[in-house]
Symmetry: C2
Subunit: 422 residues, 2 copies
Amino acid sequence: MAIDYSTSEGSKYALIDADRLWHRHVEMARYGATPRGGVNRLALTQVDIDAHVVLAEWAGERGFSVFVDDTGNMFMRREGSDPEAAPVTSGSHCDTQPTGGRFDGIFGVLAALEALVSIEEAGLVTRRPLEVAVWNNEEGVRFTPSYMGSAIYAGSVALDSMLAATDSDGITMGSAVLALKAALPNAAHRPLGSPIAAFIEAHIEQGPELEVAGETIGIVTGMQGTRKFSIEIAGDEAHAGTTPRRHRRDAFVEAVAIVNALHELFHDADDTVRFTIGQFEVFPGALAVVPGRVSFSIDFRHPEQETLERLGNEVEPLCQRVVERCTVSVSEPSRAKPLRFTGLVPEIIERAVGRRGYPYRHIYSGAGHDARHMAGICPSGMIFVPCEKGISHNEAENASPEDLAAGAQIIADVMVDLANRD
Amino acid sequence: MAIDYSTSEGSKYALIDADRLWHRHVEMARYGATPRGGVNRLALTQVDIDAHVVLAEWAGERGFSVFVDDTGNMFMRREGSDPEAAPVTSGSHCDTQPTGGRFDGIFGVLAALEALVSIEEAGLVTRRPLEVAVWNNEEGVRFTPSYMGSAIYAGSVALDSMLAATDSDGITMGSAVLALKAALPNAAHRPLGSPIAAFIEAHIEQGPELEVAGETIGIVTGMQGTRKFSIEIAGDEAHAGTTPRRHRRDAFVEAVAIVNALHELFHDADDTVRFTIGQFEVFPGALAVVPGRVSFSIDFRHPEQETLERLGNEVEPLCQRVVERCTVSVSEPSRAKPLRFTGLVPEIIERAVGRRGYPYRHIYSGAGHDARHMAGICPSGMIFVPCEKGISHNEAENASPEDLAAGAQIIADVMVDLANRD
């Protein structure tokens, strides 16, 4: 199906190496490998830092230079013919969910690195420099919120408050960034917000559409908007054996009442709303103690801003209405509008996919990605490759070597096109 | 109100020292003190071991000998005139809930120690030895189940399986017992199940009845039966942004459905049922991941065996009926029938309270206590003293020095009576 443009003498495109790409996925999956075949590589933990070091070594082998910024983003750079030009950048993230898979994030990093390596091997000269970005803490598990590295780089959130974010052990993001820098002593400093000419991100779909349709590439048209809430219910701890129901202020019982009302509010007949309670913690968490405190999260996503506004704005009034003897507080640590990718990058992607002859479709992203924040500062776009059964954020996550190779080929072709434009 | 029998020359009773008793409570509250004025002293943690060492020092100052058994119970012994006679024992536990108070458990230990010290100071000779018992892991927080030390001592549960119990860090109860023994190098070995002539336990009420009625002593008539369940729901982890509701196997959503059905089942109009979900854990516990697993606990107590059977036997069928796309498993790690204290010890308690003239009542215990297991191997009884507002298993737990002293006085008097009987 695929047409190899790079084998003809003097092609302007490079041919990526599918075997090398696959073996680098296998190698990366060792860092944080779980017994069930997944990956647990939270942002800037030792295994994540180790993975960064290996990526930097692979870049160094080809003479690419490595940079780190103050928020733990890493960049690997192949120079262009115009040393003053802003780079064309591709990449994604290296961190995973605690029971994550082998492809979410790291595929976008390895596809971009494979693009640079194959372009280097082909001896192609581009006007603009080419860069691989490894955005820090995309998953937002170890430090909240998610997309932290790309959001800070793009100026969407303030650096200082993010560096003060702490993990469950009280370690700040700031000290975790220092640990990364210490592990990369030869990396140069990259100022935050340094200009980027254009950005493209490759990612597994994390949904079933491409696989079901037998298509190789999804050209991403946009991303759902998101609203994330933290709810905290405070009651009184009491003895489970001696305290009658009428004297309890049971934070768990009232939290469940709130959850029931939320499930009702967010239930839509057409199943477009994405409503998830992924974190739910009970304190003190002892068998014989009536809970005095519960905190839980809401992850709410929708493609339409009007629905995000309408339902999201109901969360706090609902909580206050349902709670009886306890008190409840609601905060909204992050919020993002629905996004559309338009213009230069999606057009160039579509031409590249057409030249290679891959079956493709336009596809809307249910997940959020770093490209969201890049779209605020430069022409941006994304491609998806199929993800087995649509399973992601799960140790069983899988993708085929052939599909990953096709995605990396498009990244290589698009980077060349973008880097030779004015 | 109280009549001091011990000041008359040659009294057979000793007078306890209320100041010493109070100051020892203040001293003990330092081990595991929390910022909000409570105590976090889980079984055989370093602070709990430190507290045991101080108790053993206080015993040593009076020439009492110290023993430790293989399950981490500690005994402090004042010899009697008949070296072959089984001891009269009083005591309770030293461990607390994670956000526990300054009196739950430790009062029963300090009241018994104060009884022995005051009897020693009065120069009284008893036929039987007197002992203070410090039962290990009563709360069952660090290691499951609760009442572990007294249950093993009484032969209610097997030693080996209990020593294999692990805490959340994977440390076994067995290695924790070795740490206690290492900290008490001069303690002699006490074989499990060594005979006890009679047992009496003093405890704060953990309910409001005595305070409301203005009474000082509760003579405990019995204890509720308990059934404790562990419920585990297994679904599939999935991406919160991309996975539609119809494709989810959300363990949290189904756990909440089960909880709703349980709340309905256990709701009784007269508020006699004690039903508590104190532990509820969601995995992997990440904002953007549909939960793949939930585990939660049920603590169910009732004074009537028939109700314990009927409602408790409904738990598993209910779970299986409510669950839809997930799977659910139910286990019952502990179960105890309702208990009645009758015979010798309650009679002697009532006479002692009458002699001292303390206002009292007979009272039923909502909470479980170590005396439950002692009642299986020797004549046993309990007394309660008032507990401010009935608040317990809470850092705000409080009791008055006067009430604690009255309780300790009854323990001293009852131990003397019991120790001089045949």
